[in-house]
Symmetry: D2
Subunit: 263 residues, 4 copies
């Protein structure tokens, strides 16, 4: 099995300069371990907890920035799409289209994404069992596109809380599609701060390490140079200056696991 790939970025695009700074930081953080990374950022936060929250730069400006990052850093880029008619447009620029968790059963969105031929990263809905993702993936695969990633990001557990069931990783892997573990959204506390979601940043490295020990193809970790000022998901993001240490740590577990698996 290949070493794990990293999907990382600032959650929400702020500006080209900001995206460059984060991408530069990620490139440096990944260098010591030779970890490949996909730059992830959203041009639109389409389902914020509340009205007051910032939406983002929009699809045109967002794709422009992502295209520049792709070119300048030579890394694949990923963004999430929220409506069927955004898929073809985003696919002109990005390597991976991401289906948000809440939307993972929306058939038309899955079709439109699949038809672009791009890699499709499908977040598992917080309301789904791991085995339900086979039906979800089949919607994309029906377009003839088998470039599918299945992404764990926590399951509803009482109110305003998610829990990660690590049995879900091998269950989803049994589908044959590579599995991604989203460490920062898995520690979200949806709606937990009244008008925005809370998070438990301190547990993201704990869960990421567990995921690497169980065995995953990719790890998804949002980052920001100053998470407490990030326009979204700040409470669960990892500070950029801690990414190198975290990647190095995960890398060691990943190598051990992948070696073990060959055994």
């Amino acid at each position: 099995a290949l070493p794990f790939g990293l999907i990382s970025g600032p959650c929400q695009l702020e500006s080209l300069d900001h995206a460059r700074m984060i991408a530069e930081g990620l490139a440096q953080a990944c260098a010591p371990t030779g970890t490949r990374f996909v730059f992830k950022a959203s041009y639109d936060k389409a389902n914020r907890s509340s009205l007051g929250a910032e939406r983002g730069v929009g699809i045109d400006a967002g794709l422009e920035i992502l295209g520049r990052i792709r070119e300048e850093f030579g890394c694949p880029v990923l963004t999430d799409v929220h409506a069927a008619d955004q898929c073809a447009r985003a696919a002109e620029v990005v390597d991976i289209l991401q289906i948000p968790a809440f939307l993972c059963r929306q058939t038309d969105l899955l079709f439109a994404a699949g038809e672009t031929g791009r890699v499709i990263n499908i977040k598992k809905g917080q309301f789904l069992a791991p085995w339900d993702m086979a039906n979800v993936a089949a919607k994309v695969a029906s377009t003839g596109n088998e470039n599918i990633l299945l992404c764990e990001r926590g399951t509803s557990f009482g109110y305003n809380t998610l829990v990660t069931d690590f049995r879900g990783l091998p269950t989803m892997a049994a589908s044959g599609y590579p599995v991604v573990f989203d460490a920062t959204h898995s520690v979200q506390q949806p709606g937990g701060l009244g008008s925005s979601s809370g998070g438990q940043r301190e547990f993201a490295p704990v869960l990421a390490r567990a995921a690497c020990a169980v065995g995953v193809s990719m790890v998804f970790i949002e980052t920001h140079e100053d998470p407490d000022r990030a326009p979204s998901d700040g409470p669960n993001m990892i500070p950029l200056d801690q990414m190198q240490g975290l990647i190095s740590d995960l890398s060691a577990f990943d190598r051990l696991t992948k070696g073990q698996m060959i055994r």
Copy 2:
């Protein structure tokens, strides 16, 4: 408080004749208690568990049928919308636009629905706490449209199971918006049949009665003349010939509750 209103219909539109037959059955079932009903049917099942499941007649044929039912039976009609660009179109025909549970945080859909000025029935996501719905409603209300219904339809409880927390009804009612209880989707077992959702039809009347005792503005109950052959949600629908008895039963509890509340 007014007597409860009923939202009912066949889940998925099959044909004009079928819709007429169901509407006629509902009119007869509601007559003895003088219960007002809203005819509900979907023109598109946009998030089926799996690929093999029927989608429906489509928006044009669907709205045509709903318009005819509205005219012929003099009842309000409701349908669910799945994308922002469907809202204005559906609003030409229907009285109530419904936001599906999975989509209840999609800001653009809530805006587009709100802007039609129609009544908006927002299903509470299976992944949300009752108090989180205030932020959801605020997205619609920001368009100047306060014609909002908040609808309970069960909360994720482990895998492939929903639970109804009746504390959620007064919690949502504290928002000032009328509360709807969806009895048939609350007994759904999402993904519970492998490639489709299961259901526990036998518990829908139990939960509906509890909801009427707690106090709600409307009750939502899907029905079919032969649920086991319905193209969707069969396992949790109430047979049409049992609707009169159920409405009469709920009516008695509703009257007691509403009287009690005045006390």
Copy 3:
């Protein structure tokens, strides 16, 4: 079906005078509706959240008080037992022995309780499904004692929270044993206050009403003249001076339900 019976009292025995005062209050609260009540109080709180919490008056003093209440008020009395060797002793005085929820699978306790021949009220563990209670009841029944009550008191739902699944009432009733709904423990928030359990007193009447609409044999409601000063379970108890109104309300729903059921 018979009108619902009430199980009520101060949670923890404080003194004979206090028990008398509560029993007197309950007698008055039940009189207008002719509701039969069982006086419930614990002589020992054997599983408090934390060490600092009061345990109670002990088995000797407690049974003495319960015996006096039984004699003076002519009402049955109930207490909970925590070890097999307490059962025979408690059974000399009380009419109903209660098995605490955490202990509902302890075979020896169930045997010892069953062997007294008294009525046994078994609280459903927060960790059990309603259908699992048939196996629990069978342990008591194996002693030849079929005087069994099955009591719903909430199910674990995430951390520090319980949810009441009203499907559980008919599921447990299918066993043939009468079902009790414990309205005040169902709104407990276990461990929710750090070193003690919190509660949502305001929802106890809501859930009790729903239970009466679904149909139960008995309702369990703890009460205190000043809940905020009660030595245990204060946050979820109903003030004594609100009991008459609540009983009258529940009585109306119970009568409607029982009439309906005959239909």
Copy 4:
């Protein structure tokens, strides 16, 4: 940090010869990695799902066997106690007294166990949050005995299912007490087979590995030479002949983690 210790054995004592065979198997399985093991077995299964299930050899015969294993193999032994009056008796023989999960809030049992001065392994109740265990441990510590282990074994997640929240391991470790991860009970499906508990043996190694990556002091794994014929917990036990491979695998992750932590 020290390498992880193993707690392992056949769940239920069957006979001295059987215990010897398992202990011998464990000794061999642990030898290559130099893993220390504690022999665990129960003399009484006091809370079986149903009546028909075997209880065990009893305290006298059980302690006799455990004493012999301790002497012959030179390993510490552990057993679980179910009533306060068993603690002193069991403590004459065993090194570690275990408090069952259902009983983890029973104050008198915790006191009696603590007073023996033995190491006390407290299983976290399926109904408790990780942070609630601090109050539980304080009950034991109040006896002056700080030899406490806190053991994760899964949390209620819907019906008949447990989920392991790996955030709980560092949360419990913050108490200062060593943390044990019980891999085989964490994959139990309580009541899941109708009259007995089911289990998902295949996930025990997955979760154990995740626990070792997160970092624990001990891992608890029940084993049997023929799990499908074991008198209890068969569906979640690891076959004895797979233990060496599993221990070696966990050992590699444990070493990496403990090294990492020193970093």
